[in-house]
Every structure is written in structure tokens, then in C-alpha cells.
Symmetry: C2
Subunit: 250 residues, 2 copies
């Protein structure tokens, strides 16, 4: 069943009002009629089966048939801080990371990021990423859409990390040494509802300066298995391991 | 250090002979000179640091400096059987699956695969996938290149599955029900050196007929977390969870 993410002001006692692009999607893409059913999700992650009551030019009104008791969201809040990669790899990170349950993404302008964004380009990119996150949430039957933040410097990432119980970064050199910090020391100890910030370098990895600053800010370096992963593969490994631990092994 | 996969006939007592594309790569791409060092991997997954002794027109001769004791290969042998997906998604499956440690790939012509390959196209595709697997192996510092098999029908997959201790398929409906078979019943019980076949449907999933045949052939259906993953994301989830369990949690 098709699902839509409806903002706060769309919810009334027993009715839901959809507007904007969702109306176009229901009418033109799905070609739905009155009495057909959809799933509507609230901003705080609850989902309801709804029946379409009225289709108008610029709004669709539904009534709630049944609240669903779905557990589709990762129990922990995972923020992926991704060093700006080359080409359109960030789109892959957002799409796959959303499918795998990330709660938020922060694009990070690393010293070794080759791509540079000016303010105008950044705005366009972020709004495109938000759209990808929304579509991937629908497709993967999530009940929440992850947020995509504006581009951060290393200092801004460190400031943003203050509300997190876990601050991690994937340091390639960990995979090359024997004295690595294994995920065993981290993931099994993450509790549901805790906040985890996972930082991934761009293609060239973190600079020594960045590593020093992150360590000073109490970030722990971890390895993601013994092989060297491409920058866009690292978030998938981490999110899959978290899902396996918290949603399957539990 | 750049790594090369050298076939059996390239290995002598204390020397290694490289030929073909690797010679071009050493001379033209890396612009290496005599006395520089590379890593050479044997077909059975051992790696040696080697020094270049002689660069000729169509061969490069090295001597072995030191055998390396690298553990880069997943302890279990994982074969990904991938229902032919749309577009170039199979390339993504091979590249990411190689980084994440898969031992073999089998493209599977599913009932709901939209793409169809004739014999000529299949040959070209497979040789392209083998190249992607080789490059991804080098990049991720693996010591073995995964094999990419020819395209299989469901019957051929079932025949090929006979040598495997674990036969699994990712069934989307498992993620939708409460009575799912969790990975908890499977992954923690996989022993190093065991062979695991993991089968993933194409975009439309498996047909009922395929599900029946797989179940008759003792394949177990599993869910890969509670969210619905795109076909090309499913192998990454599975391989990451296996790596986490066998390489990090151990």
C-alpha cells in the first residue's frame, strides 16, 4: 500500500488532509479513486491505514481506518556524517542509508573532499537529497523520513556531536593494523533510544589534522571489518551491522 | 601498495611473473620502475610483498620479499545469487559485494526479471562483471578475486546449491509478517569455512512458483531487517551482518 508522510497540520481527530505533491502523486501517478486505501505517517513515526474520502483539485481528504503498530524504525538514532564524496555518490549514501534505517545525514566538507559547493549549489543539493530520503522512506516502508542537514565543517560537526552518547569515525588505518578498535567494543553496547554519530571520510580519508581534532572531541575510531571499503559503502556496513544487532539478534 | 592477482603459472620458487593487462598497468598507469614494490596474490589467497626485478615489453618479473599474513577474506564462503535487476544495478551488486567479502556471484534469471540476455550479451556482461570484481578486490585489499558465474535458471541454482551447508533466500514477505525467520536463527550458527548460498530476488521479488521450488529444495527464507530493501541493497546487508558476526564479534 502506498505511503505518504503528512506534516503536523494535516492531522485532525479522525481525518488526514494531504496537499502539495502528494495530491499530484495520488491523482496522476497512482490514479487512485475515492474509497481506496493508503498509509499515512505522522512526523513522529506513527502510521495509519486510511481510506480516501474526497479528492479535490489541490487536496485529498482521508479518514483513519486503523492505527498500525509497525516497528520499522531502528531502535537507536543513527546520524551518518558523510565526507563529501565525488560525483553522485552522496545520492547513493542517502538512498541506501535511508533504506537501512539512518535517522539523519550531515554532509561534511572534509579537507580531502574534492567537491566544493557554493551556497547556491549547496541549497539545491540538500533539497534534492531530502527528496531522495523521502522517496526511499516510502519505498522501504519506513514511518519516519530522515533529515538531511546543511553542509558542516569539522568544527560544526564537533559542536553538533554534543548531544550524542556515541561519537565514532571510520578510520581506514584501523583496518590496516592489528591494534584496531573492533565494532565488538561498540555496537553490542548501544542501547535503544541512544544517539550515535558515525563519521565517514571522503575518498582520500580523514587528514591527520581532522583525526587529531576528532580524537580531542572524544570521537572513537572504529574499523568496519578487515577490508578497505569505498567511502559510499562504509555507511551501509555500519547501518547493517547495527540493524543486525538491535533488530535481529535481540 | 598496489596489488595484483597472479595466476598459478606466474609463480616460481622465489619469483613472480606478471603478464597481460597487469604489465600495462604497472608500466603505463602506475609508471613504476625496477626496485619498486607491489603486492602479488596467489589464486588461493596468499599475498606476498614483491620487488620489481625487470620490466620488459610484455612481462614484469619480481622477486618475493616477504609473505604477508593477511586476514582479509571472510571466514565463510558466501555466494550471492542475484536475480537480474534493471539497468546497471548488477554492477553495483558485484562491486559492493566484492568489497564486503563475497566469494562468488551467480546472476539468476528470475521469472520477474525484466532484463533478458541473449548468449552474446551474457558473455560480454559476465566478462565485464569479472573485471569489476577484480578491480574491487584490489581496491579493498582482498587476497582473492570472487568468481562470477554464468547466468543460471532456478533449476541450475538448485543444482549448484548441493555443495552448500546453508541455502537461504531473502523473501520480502518475511519482513512484512510477525512470524518471520530472523537472521538470529542463521548467522550466529554459520561456522568458518562453511559454504552459504544467499539468493536475492529481482525488483519484483520471487514468484510464488519460485518460492515453492526453493522451499522444496530446502532453501530457508530469511528477513534482512524490518524495512523493505531494494534488490541491490539486500546483498550488502547480508554480507555486512556476516562480516560483523564472524570478523568483529568473534
Amino acid at each position: 500500500m502506498q505511503r505518504y508522510f503528512v506534516p503536523h497540520d494535516g492531522w485532525e481527530e479522525e481525518q488526514v488532509h494531504l496537499s502539495g505533491e502528494d495530491v499530484h502523486h495520488i491523482k496522476k501517478v497512482m490514479r487512485m479513486k475515492e474509497e481506496e486505501e493508503i498509509i499515512c505517517c505522522t512526523p513522529d513515526g506513527h502510521a495509519a491505514k486510511c481510506k480516501i474520502r474526497k479528492i479535490e483539485d489541490d487536496s485529498v481528504t482521508c479518514y483513519i481506518v486503523q492505527w498500525l503498530d509497525e516497528e520499522k524504525e531502528l531502535p537507536a538514532h543513527i546520524t551518518i556524517v558523510q565526507g563529501l564524496p565525488k560525483g553522485d555518490k552522496m545520492e547513493l549514501v542517502i538512498q541506501k542509508g535511508t533504506e537501512l534505517g539512518a535517522a539523519a545525514f550531515i554532509p561534511f566538507e572534509a579537507e580531502r573532499s574534492i567537491v566544493k559547493w557554493d551556497a547556491k549549489k549547496a541549497e539545491k543539493k540538500i533539497s534534492r537529497y531530502q527528496k531522495i530520503a523521502k522517496e526511499a522512506s516510502e519505498q522501504s516502508h519506513r514511518t519516519k523520513v530522515p533529515t538531511v542537514e546543511s553542509i558542516h565543517s569539522v568544527q560544526e560537526v564537533i559542536t553538533a556531536s554534543e548531544g550524542y552518547e556515541w561519537k565514532l569515525f571510520a578510520y581506514e588505518d584501523e583496518a590496516k593494523t592489528d591494534a584496531f578498535q573492533s565494532l565488538k567494543e561498540v555496537i553490542p553496547h548501544i542501547k535503544p533510544s541512544q544517539r550515535v554519530m558515525m563519521m565517514i571520510g571522503p575518498e582520500g580519508g580523514f587528514s591527520e589534522k581532522e583525526v587529531d581534532r576528532l580524537k580531542q572531541a572524544s570521537f572513537q575510531s572504529v574499523r568496519l571489518g578487515p577490508r578497505i571499503l569505498r567511502t559510499e559503502t562504509a555507511p551501509s556496513y555500519f547501518l547493517s551491522a547495527i540493524s543486525y544487532q538491535l533488530e535481529e539478534l535481540r
